[in-house]
Assembly symmetry: C2
Homo-oligomer: 478 residues x 2
């Protein structure tokens, strides 16, 4: 940890800023295997808070957790044509087990629709067994060629929900419910304004009938797909023979969904809120919400200061609190260090504060003087709560304004190409793959989603000029 | 779920009783890959409660969580001679990634000492970086030939703590501290009396200097190793070059430990407390602590009964509570069902109870009339708390008495062979591998541990008659 080495500015080199920040804030590190990462304790604590925010929402909507195997027979993947086409280039394959060559190679799961579909076909017999609402927390492996810590790694951590229903309507309702759960978590906990929408045919998950997404704008205006929810119709049920006896004693194929959100969300938080000094974490998810830095010159001062610090530690027991009592580094070093790590609120207490009964408060979201204030020690817990609430909501507002300021509604194709250099375009689109492909070829931007919320009415496709009934977001994406 | 199919009795066939119970109680199921398991929601909820009981203890003792990669270069394993010898027969090997043959094969981690050692050598520079106290929750793969659900599966779930220290004393203290944490969890939460002890040279973890264990007696008197804690001295630090600059500016190798507890603990709970009716779960870990079964014959009765049930649901909000309001099965079916699943306490409420203001209480640990009582609805929450506490402690007492009744102190080798047919032997042992090997050959029993608590004094080895300074447990084991 060398917080005195400055980061490159975001303006200068966003990508390098990101890479260095992840390392310097000790969120993650490179593993010895190409493309793999080690999630360090500070990064994992952030992910644990995301997990908890999601898991409580999953349970509140009737879901239970379970664990399915890591290793899947290669033949399973081949049962759904689009699924195998989508995933087979990305597989890690186990060919040797216990010193012997395996008769059938096993794949390390890239996602678990196939193995879970197989088990569901064993478990589901009657409409009384439905719905099945299971989630799994785990790791998956996809052999990606271009990797970035948290954003795209060979192995990543996620949750994958897999549900089976008696009717199409119920399955579609579930698909959208879980998209809503993701949006709710992103907005309320991660302070990231996200757009909920449906993916184009081209961007759809391999094997899905419809894929839904939450899309977020990063600090360099690029888009990031932060969570997805898929409606499979009866495709996987047919591939894996998930049948049930319905109310009329007829055999029916079940309707299935899956939905996933991964450690990518950590990358989204970094790139949404971070600044040139480092991480800026939303209080609801920050591993430490408050850090206290005691300031003293000698043993006598130290004694007086730490007495107050110990009292405040108790008063602030409801918060995730860190007391930085390191003796081998200066307070200035500590300030930089905790700014790099994005702790939302810093309290500084020196001998003068002890005398005056005050504390210096420094908000991470407003660097320098703007975020600094002196408040009485009396009633500090309430002041801390109000400040954290204020940070949480202003991070969201700032991100929302940033997205709005960088989202454009170009009038023609030339203008579209222009705005896609550095922003999102919100445009009428005929939904034809040719128009989507042309945009990609000319600008490297992809269709991000057709938002669920539509303006209504009709327009003309920004590419071909033909009739269009939806508006969509296009952007360059991670 | 067919709770009316009876289990074989434990007496009759303990092994079949176990296998069928795991399936019927829907704790786990067989996966399509040989030796792998699916942990079903009910089993996973039990494991989540174990996780929480451990994780809070880890954090209270200063540990943090992180995540290290699943895939490890084959060459890493070869850096520690005993470690590679111990694990190489059990490896799953990835030889193909992204459609191409890999230059260096990757192993799916069987345990993570090597990859974590590699990272620690990057992170640890000075004594100020020590101790490093990291735990990881995850999955590992060991290519076992003879598998049993929860007890021994190709893939299993566990936590593995890995720590590095500046001195041997500190590392040994950590090793024993975490053994104590395991024992505390087993005793207080799982209600399993365990013996803390050190493993013999033969039974030691591959690469460890000393391995410590908590050993439990199962319902068939066989022993089960339920958690282990290892002291590595400087062996892994030397193999992975984990060096730090000490207080005197000298480079030193760090002292490391690791400790793990797995989903095996679920098997231990089943086999310690289960009876011929099914599972019996300790209230502190049970997914549902209380189940309410409403009893009624018609809509009018149903209405009156459910009114009370709804009120009790609120009064018992502090408990993990299940209301079984299924209409397609009888109350009798439900009783059997929840007995099979081991819910500690069942409340039955029928129209007569509504009239009398009473509730029927059925303790799972005392089947039949012995566990049944009628109590007033008023003050039910306190009654429930007292009953759960009583169940928790009597499960422990019962298991402790069972162990004591089946632990013997044979006077000579002939008697030793006899008692090991159906129990544990607690005997003086000279600690020579020859004596251990002879016992194993003659009885299939292994040395389980040399308990930390020793009677003191000296004795004669039960095998060779030579001087012995410790007493040890020998038993057949899972």
């Amino acid at each position: 940890m060398t917080p005195t080495d400055k980061l490159p500015s975001r303006q200068e080199n966003f990508s390098e800023w990101y890479n260095q920040l992840v390392l310097k804030a000790e969120l993650a590190d490179y593993a010895p295997v190409r493309g793999c990462m080690v999630v360090r304790p500070y990064g994992w604590a952030l992910w644990e808070n995301i997990q908890q925010a999601l898991d409580s929402r999953f349970k509140a909507t009737g879901h239970v957790n379970a664990a399915f195997p890591l290793l899947i027979p290669m033949s399973f993947l081949e049962k759904e044509r689009e699924h195998v086409e989508g995933f087979s280039p990305e597989l890690a394959v186990v060919t040797i087990g216990g010193g012997e060559k395996l008769e059938e190679p096993l794949i390390v799961r890239p996602t678990s629709e196939t193995i879970i579909g197989y088990m569901y076909s064993k478990w589901i017999k009657s409409y009384r067994d439905l719905p099945v609402l299971i989630n799994q927390w785990g790791n998956v492996v996809r052999w990606e060629m271009r990797t970035r810590l948290f954003l795209r790694t060979l192995e990543f951590y996620w949750q994958e929900g897999h549900t089976a229903h008696a009717t199409s309507d119920e399955a579609m309702e579930e698909t959208l419910r879980m998209l809503g759960v993701y949006a709710d978590m992103a907005i309320k906990e991660a302070a990231i304004p996200v757009v909920q929408g449906v993916k184009s045919d081209k961007e759809r998950f391999a094997g899905a009938v419809q894929s839904y997404t939450i899309e977020a704008m990063m600090g360099d205006t690029r888009a990031l797909q932060a969570g997805t929810s898929h409606f499979f119709g009866q495709k996987f049920a047919q591939a894996f023979d998930i049948q049930f006896l319905d109310w009329n004693n007829q055999m029916q194929y079940a309707w299935t969904t899956s939905w996933g959100l991964s450690t990518r969300m950590v990358g989204a938080i970094i790139m949404t809120h971070g600044d040139d000094q480092g991480l800026v974490l939303p209080p609801n998810l920050a591993p430490y919400q408050v850090v206290i830095v005691p300031i003293y010159k000698d043993e006598d001062e130290r004694h007086r200061v730490m007495e107050v610090v110990d009292r405040l530690r108790q008063e602030l027991g409801a918060y995730r609190l860190k007391i930085d009592d390191r003796t081998e580094v200066t307070p200035g070093f500590k300030f930089n260090d905790w700014e790099m790590r994005g702790v939302p609120l810093r309290l500084e207490i020196g001998p003068k504060d002890v005398e005056k009964g005050s504390v210096a408060l420094a908000r991470r979201d407003l660097p320098g003087r703007a975020g600094k204030s002196f408040v009485p020690q009396a009633g500090l817990a309430q002041q801390v709560q109000e400040t954290l609430d204020s940070i949480q909501s202003s991070l969201f507002e700032r991100a929302l304004k940033f997205r709005q300021a960088n989202t454009f509604e170009p009038g023609d194709y030339a203008e579209l190409q222009q705005v896609l250099q550095d922003g999102w375009a919100y445009v009428w689109w005929c939904q034809k793959p040719e128009c989507e492909a042309r945009i990609k070829e000319d600008t490297r931007a992809t269709s991000r989603c057709i938002p669920l919320e539509q303006p209504g009415g009709k327009g003309k496709c920004v590419v071909c000029g033909e009739a269009a009934s939806v508006k969509a977001y296009f952007a360059r994406a991670y």
